[in-house]
Symmetry: C2
Subunit: 208 residues, 2 copies
């Protein structure tokens, strides 16, 4: 019986986690060209086991994405004392986190494979990546923004739109360039600089 990977309460065993780690590494290296045989070889498991656990190739890819999503902790920002200073620091910290995740090898690889499958895809890889990436991020920052609004520090109609704008100010063309293979190196320093700039601009636009 195939594991119901689609269910949200998917808890891989230790061994399954090892296999998924190996598969993820291959996915980062080879992209969508990873083969079931290569995964089996790398993870020292049999193809039969792969198919037993994950159903088919699509199921394996889906499991990889969910596995990674379960591992990466979303940046949780909760300013204790809300004032202009702490709000700015919260937003900027969130931005640093988001940008460093989005520009990482793993995020790029997962987005690439999900995009490759979008359009002709019944497993909904793109949807999963969106839910665990872009949308989850919005859910994390929006409370902060709304708290800032309630405290009279920010002004906006809908938090969704405000987050979208912050996302745009932060990411700009970085993600699409990385996805397209542009050799853009985003060091720690550059990430901090970009997050600071985006925060500055965001508060300039939405601050009261």
């Amino acid at each position: 019986m195939t594991l119901n990977i689609a269910s949200s309460d998917f808890l891989p065993t230790r061994r399954q986690g090892e296999v998924l780690d190996a598969a993820l590494q291959l996915l980062v290296e080879d992209g969508d060209r990873l083969t079931m045989s290569a995964v089996a070889r790398e993870a020292s498991c049999s193809k039969e086991t792969l198919y037993k656990w994950f159903g088919d190739r699509e199921g394996l890819l889906t499991a990889i994405v969910k596995w990674q999503a379960s591992k990466v902790g979303m940046p949780r920002v909760e300013p204790d004392k809300l004032n202009a200073q702490s709000l700015r620091k919260s937003i900027e910290s969130f931005g640093r986190n988001l940008l460093s995740v989005l520009s990482g090898d793993i995020s790029v690889a997962l987005n690439r494979v999900a995009i490759s499958h979008a359009g002709t895809d019944r497993s909904g890889l793109g949807r999963i990546v969106l839910e665990n990436g872009r949308f989850a991020m919005g859910q994390r920052l929006k409370p902060v923004l709304e708290a800032g609004r309630d405290a009279g520090l920010l002004g906006f109609e809908d938090a969704e739109g405000a987050f979208c704008t912050f996302f745009g100010l932060l990411v700009r063309d970085t993600q699409i360039r990385l996805l397209l293979g542009d050799d853009l190196v985003l060091g720690k320093q550059a990430i901090e600089r970009e997050a600071a700039r985006a925060t500055e601009q965001f508060i300039s636009l939405y601050g009261t």
Copy 2:
């Protein structure tokens, strides 16, 4: 002898253009799953001709991208009388154009296939898409921005960064969501609204 598709002076004949149009349509419909047989069938040409003209599958994909790039006219904006009003209208018009192109089926399909091939790609599809998309756009808007700066209407250090910010304000998460298959419908009205908002915010940030 294979045509040197890589050269910038690639001028397809009328017949070749028809074949590339058919291939482009298939690419939009089927994405990267398009096959040489399907192209030959749809274009009513022989596979032998495809290989003679384009070398191999990669060459065909490259030719499709270049063909589309040669067809789409970049929005050229040149405000004759430069004042705050005309500058704003120029930027906003450019934004409308850019957003409607980026959210179109063809752009999404081409970006998807280029992203699929990025990382393990000898033909540099991603580079070509970047050159003819994102970078070409920057080259078009930057003179306008610099003219605005010279006229004392805008203030920024480097035009590249300013364009990046406008790009981010305009596109936000639209492109990545479309690439990931999110069923986002961006009508004419929404495009105009977004372009107006982005322009407003950009001038608010960079206006003097």
